[in-house]
Amino acid sequence: MRKTYIGWIVVVLIVASWGYNLYSHQTNRLPEGRFLSHRIEATDSPGDSFWLYYIANNDDKRLPISVSIEGMSALQFDPVSEYMTFRNQRMYRLLGHFNGDPDNTPFGKAKPLTIHSVDVYYSDGTRGKADIGEMIVYRGDWASGGSISQTNSSSSSNGTQTAAFQVDKPVTLNGFSSAFLNELGSAFTYELHAGKEAAVFPQAVEAGESISFISNFHVPADSQLYLQPVSMRLRLEYSDEDGTERVQMIPLERQPYPSEAAIRAYVKAQREATE
């Protein structure tokens, strides 16, 4: 009699284990693999690069093989690589980089391009357009002939990023901007100093003075921005002594590093959105 009870308990445990895991497996699946919603600013200067992040179920065989953007032949993507593994999903990423000859169009003359989707060739042989969020590509030559040169930059694991610049010739700082500053709101904080004082605009800065920049991302785990990769090109706008308007780019990256719980919440939201 005792053996029968033990036998039934074992059977119930095994059936419960399969039932729970099959249910959990089904309810924690992404409806389909997809790119995260990015916020990317990039320049079309040779060497500029950014990451695209793709998330799929662990057993999904359909992965992006190559990505391209219509009309941007100078932009190429490296093969997809695994970035993070979770219980039911994996995150992959592809590095996009601009190659080719430098564009000699003066910066500001060519209108920036705004891109929301990319052309993707998948491992199962299919092609399609995929939403990537928002990507803004600034065009033109911003790097040559400036009066400000970057002296160093750093980033730490807590999200703090710094940059320092040397003013070679007298300039007037006119502004500081990014397409995503308003959208990020309090999730992104920064300080910009010209000399020892906080920068104001317009502000004249003498040759030999330094400009320093420090920033941080504070994105709570329950925020919609939490799983949003951000690649910013902050633009320090200034004019030279002769009045020529120029831009000094400050690149900033926020790579997603989600927890298991954040991925579960993301999957749940995606499932609810498709139901």
Binding site: L13, I14, N21, L22, N58, D59, N88
Partner: protein
Amino acid sequence: MRTACSQIAWGLGLMLFDFRFNSFDLLPDVLGFILILIGLANQPVRQRAFGIAKIAAVILLVGAIAELAGVMPVAVTIMQVNQYYSLPALLPIGLSLLVLLALLYGICEGFERTAASLGLFDSARSFRAVWNTSLAMGAVMLFVLPFSLNGWHGSVTVVAVLAGLGQFVAGIWLIVRVSRFGREYVAANS
């Protein structure tokens, strides 16, 4: 009886050990299941449990032939952690484990009853102990197996390795026990 027991013992041995040379199994399971079936068919004492073992051996034989012929993909083992994320990969492992348990049950139960009918109670207890061990290890495997669907690969692998080791030891124990029973049967009937 001695020959029949020897055939079953050899069959179990071929099934238990895998010696692979360039991915070719030098001790194919197909041969093992055929030997087990011949051994079971040659048993002088008819037991209902041997019938269960025969059915299980036929199912496993068909699976092994299909695998050998390339009709079915080579079964992944529980140790290949990256291979069993999906249900289609996991289900054959679970089902083959169940059928294997049925085979072991049939052999152990059949010999236990035969031994008991001859008054060989030590042998009968021994076969019961082998079956209990195999059942416990198989139950542990069946319990942990589906957790790999949800990414518990590290824990599943550790438990599966230990349970697999237990099953391997129980398998060797059964081979020794069946071989010895062949001799005991002859001695008891002489």
